[in-house]
Amino acid sequence: MKRNLPLYLLFIFAIWGGISVFVGKESVHEIDNLLRNKLLLIVGAFAIILGLGSLIFHHMVKIRNKSRYWQYSYVTLVSLFISSFIGLFGGVRGEKSLPTIFGGLVLLAHDGQVYAFQNEAEMGQFKASPDKFVDPARAVMPLPSNVEAPLSRYAASSLRDEIELRASNARRNGIQFEMISPVTGKPVPFKKDFRIHIQQLFEGILVPCGSTMFAMLAFYMCSAAYRAFRMRNLHAGVLLVSAFIVMLGQIPLATAYIPGVYELRQWILDVPNMASKRGIMIGVGLGAVATSFKIIFGIERAWLGGDE
């Protein structure tokens, strides 16, 4: 039963998924959508717990056994717990309870406009008698339609990001970006906030690290290309020549001075390259169908750990 139940379940769900491609009935699609998206999402959520358990266990064992480079496991575990803590208590954009140090900018939404103040006291003055100070000409921006007043922590945080983006775009284009307080009439200085939330970690750590890894691809490509384009035999020679033509066809200077190189490049990409690509894709399509049938009908059971 332990072996057969997954097979029965797989058969039922897979056949249902297959049928929904050919049946147009809305109800069939709704059930398929439920299985494909919602159920998978729930399974994924539980799998994340198992995954985290695995990660922690893996590194705990390394630390306990003092395996080679066990110190790095501490870095992983500490990072995991710090980011979890910030995610839980700082929220996605600082909307939760962790402290935020604002860079001298307080925002208020009033009459469909967003006003900036230097501090809470200025904002308090405005709130006390808005009719006296209200001046749409001094508003930083109109209140976006999807944002409600009074501004929530999350909305204020998003608006500050938006203002920061506008300011940096203006600076890039040589335009002076200035915010005037409607109460004092003086410019409101804009400094970056210090916020502790998960987006900060994502943008400040994960994205630059990911970009670094991605940038390394260029160097790896060079070394791989060097190995691939060494003319050891006829095939490698054909590869070298065609790659040279394709690269030349990509360069504006070469296409301007060498007649026909662009057309030749395009022909290589559209005819021999496309033909081989389609050949692979047809094979892949048939292989995928065959694999699916093998698994659905229980012929292939390696994913269950074997036949026994």
Binding site: V21, F22, V23, G24, K25, E26, H29, L40, V43, G44, A47, I48, L50, G51, L52, S54, L55, F57, H58, V61, R68, Y69, Y72, L206, C209, G210, M213, F214, M216, L217, Y220, S223, A224, A225, R227, A228, K277, I280, M281, I282, G283, V284, L286, G287, A288, V289, A290, T291, S292, F293, K294, I295, I299, E300, A302, W303, L304, G305, G306, D307
Partner: protein, 426 residues
Amino acid sequence: MTLHTIRTGSTGRVWRAIMSGIVCLLAVCMPCAPHAIGQDQQTSQTDAAPEPITEPVAGDDAVPAEPAPVPTVPPGATLPVVVAMDVPSDTGNAISIRWPHDVSQAKPDAYILEMQTPDGLWKQVTRTVLTSYQVSGVPNFTQFHFRVKALYGEASMTSDIAGPIEARDHWFRTGKMPIVVAIAVFVLILVMFINAARRGVELFVRRISGLNAVEDAIGRATEMGKPVLYIPGTSSIEDVATLASLNILGEVVRRTVHYDVKIICPNRDPIVYTIAREIVRETYASEGRPDAFDPNSVFFLVPDQFAYAAGVDGIMVRQKPATIFFMGMFWAEALVMSETGAATGAVQIAGTDTPAQLPFFITSCDYTLIGEELYAASAYLSREPLLLGTLKAQDYGKLIFMICMVVFSILAIVFNWDLSPYLLVK
């Protein structure tokens, strides 16, 4: 004094006179009024062109009564005839509308398609120069009316109303018929070869050098006393390439158990991790070595693409595996990982169905399974007759495809037979 007494008195006569005047005025204006009211009820938006412009029919050459420059449609322009129908054999929520244009008549500048919703309001669906449109996202089994305005500069002509028409979902999507036929043929071949394999017919399978090297590569790891690193792709479990990779994992683990070599399997997807872990554990059990299974050998690394690549690179550099398998779906991280593996001196066997990553694997790995070889690997390694039968079916499927392509090309080139309407999937 009540209101009633005022009206019946001398002042009342004045009132009556005023009221009579109003009634007379209304009577004079009456011919226009009902039309205007009806238009208000039916149209949600005000039309820039005055309504009389939409009224003229073909051949109506009456001169406008007023001398003001009222925009007129060009002579010979005809009213568009609107045909609305439910899109056949679909999943519903769509209605197809056509208003063919008579090429002998003056061509409008544009058309405005309007739809009357069940609450009676007309709303503009699109402004187009085409003569057909598919309205999607409408609820099923709800009646709609349609009309088309042909625009000639400032002037316009409005068609008769088409409808009521409702979108329906259908049981069978006939547009998918080519897939049904292709799958039926393929399943037939599959069943044929599985039966042949069951009868004990010897099935020849061509040599795949990348898979022949698996045994040697694991043997090398045994001799060197170093682990085998298995990367099951970076995609999720929904990908067939991941499933194929997990099938190969079972076979690879079977050999590592046999040679008593450590296997390391870092995962990017938590669902793939749970399945990979079960596969490794069950394979150890089925090979009679449940005690040798190290739960620490299969683990979840990180879900981010390049963080995963960095993690795998770290494992390669620190643990220096003798053999590395890259099997499944890969994206831009493929070369980052395989080049690092090549730098450590490991024997690398890759297999992917992503054409964009194949050149990278071919250049940086010792052996590469191209496209469908990835799906054939499990059968090839296990040599199970039933699985080999499916492998043969795969090859025959490709043969049929090739024959069809040649035959259809000849039919199209020599006899000018265009079979594409019957072969295209809608």
